[in-house]
Structures are given as structure tokens and as C-alpha cells.
């Protein structure tokens, strides 16, 4: 009954692979604990805040080094681009090199690969003054408002 045994084992393998594929496609952009209006499949999630003289954009990018993310600002739009590296499968705690083929994934929820996101800004900003810091997987971008977008205080003269 060679055929039976092969036929019995393979569909299970295939089903498992199929679930893996499905799961990977569903989690290509990790479902961050978000609320709000982020459309499905958009990575990374961002929080945007506005003060009197700056717009700040915060994004959670765990696993990235500063060199893995590219930020460009044009007037009223911010472009976030980068790539999240694959988890290194061969690194083991005790120095043994694991064979990649023998690694069994029990769960794969963290997305990997390239991402690109355009974030509209509420006002025009000064691209030259934009600063960004990536600390412990949290990216904070501070965009000073363009001079013409800052609130202009008008003195009221008494007659």
C-alpha cells in the first residue's frame, strides 16, 4: 500500500503549507493592535499629531535599524519606505547552527519584507527641518511647519 501511505501523508503536508501561505498572506502586514482608520494591509501604522509649530509622525517599526528606513518629505506629504528583515532562522542560543530545512514554524505573525506608505500631512512643512529618531523600534519624525503654515498672531490695536 505504498500509494496509500504517500497519499495519506502528502495532503496533510500540503494543507499545512496552504495554511502557512494563507497565514503569511494575511499577515504580510502585521495586524498591529490598531484602532482608527488604517486600511487593511497597510504597514506601518502611524499616529500623527499637530502642535502650533510642528507635525509629528510616529510609527512602530520593531526589528528595523535606522538604515532600514527611508523618509522623504515633499510639502504636504511624507513618504516612509523600507524593509523589515526576515527573522534569522539559523541563530540558536547555544551556538549550534540549525539547519534551515529543519526549522519548524509554529507561529508566524510578524510580517517581513518591503513596505511603502504615503502619509498626508495636515499642513505644509519645511522639508529641510525634518528630524527623525528610531529608538527601540519606535520611529518619531518631527516636521516643523513651513513659515506660511504657522499660526500668525495678529495684534489688535485699540483705536
Amino acid at each position: 500500500m505504498t500509494t496509500f501511505r504517500a497519499g495519506f501523508a502528502l495532503p496533510l503536508e500540503e494543507l499545512r503549507d496552504e495554511f502557512d501561505r494563507l497565514w503569511t498572506s494575511l499577515t504580510a502586514a502585521p495586524p498591529l493592535h490598531g484602532w482608527g482608520v488604517r486600511p487593511e494591509g497597510v504597514f506601518p501604522a502611524v499616529n500623527v499629531r499637530e502642535t502650533a509649530d510642528a507635525v509629528s509622525v510616529e510609527a512602530e517599526l520593531p526589528g528595523l535599524d535606522a538604515g532600514d528606513v527611508e523618509i522623504s518629505v515633499t510639502g504636504e506629504e511624507l513618504l516612509l519606505r523600507g524593509s523589515r528583515p526576515q527573522t534569522e532562522p539559523a541563530a540558536t542560543g547555544n551556538g549550534e547552527a540549525a539547519e534551515a530545512a529543519k526549522v519548524v514554524w509554529h507561529r508566524r505573525e510578524r510580517g517581513t519584507g518591503g513596505f511603502e506608505r504615503r502619509i498626508p500631512l495636515p499642513v505644509a512643512v519645511d522639508p529641510a527641518g525634518v528630524e527623525a529618531r528610531l529608538v527601540d523600534g519606535v520611529l518619531l519624525i518631527t516636521c516643523p511647519k513651513a513659515a506660511e503654515a504657522k499660526p500668525h498672531r495678529v495684534e489688535v490695536r485699540s483705536a
Partner: protein
Amino acid sequence: MNQQAVMNQPAGTTPATDVAERPAALTFQPNVDIRDLGGEVVFTADIPGSKADGIDVTFEDGVLTMHATVPPREQAGRPIRQEYGIGNYRRSFRLGDGFDASQVTADYARGVLTVHVPRLAAVRPRKVAVRAG
């Protein structure tokens, strides 16, 4: 999600199942990768915004628990777009027996927590050489 975990479970290996817990307000479950390398099981969790000394990893009675406190961040101005919340992280997995609790190690870098849970030497998979008679 449970279905997927079951499907990924090859016969004879230890399941890494979620342990049901009621999360407190503003405690999130991190996204986790779990890889079985044979000699150990490696957990990789996305925990942005924490610090190494704010993270507790315990392995007790076959249950691995990761808990991370995330300090509040500066929230100046008014929100324009709010797509995620900021809070602590907590998640537990039941691993069962056969692991060496004293050898569990954890590292935190770039907002990612990596936990290595080695198997006891006695239960590690061993390749048996077949001798020709």
C-alpha cells in the same frame, strides 16, 4: 488562529498554544514568531517602545510568559491620525515538559524580544546511525 496553530503542529512536537488570559486595559498581545529548531524553541516578539529592564520573561510549569511595560511617550499637540494605541504587552504560551527552565535566555534589541527556550538534553531529537549488519 487556533486552527492554524493546530495545522502547523507536526505530530510528536510540543504545541505552543496560547494560554487564555483576560488582558487589562491597554495591554496588547505582541505579534510573535515561534520557531522550533530541535534543540530549542525560539520566540520572537514585536515589543516596540520598551526597555530591557522593563521586560519580564518567566518560564514556570511549562508556561512561558512575556510581559513588557511600555513607558508613556510624549504626546504633544492634538491628534490628527490615531492608528494604534500605546500600552504594555503580555502574552503567554504553554510549552509543556521537556524544557530546561534554568537555561532560558532573553534579549531585547530594536524593539524585538527574542527568547530561547532550550530542550532538556534527554529529550532532544537525536539522529541514530544505522549500522550495516
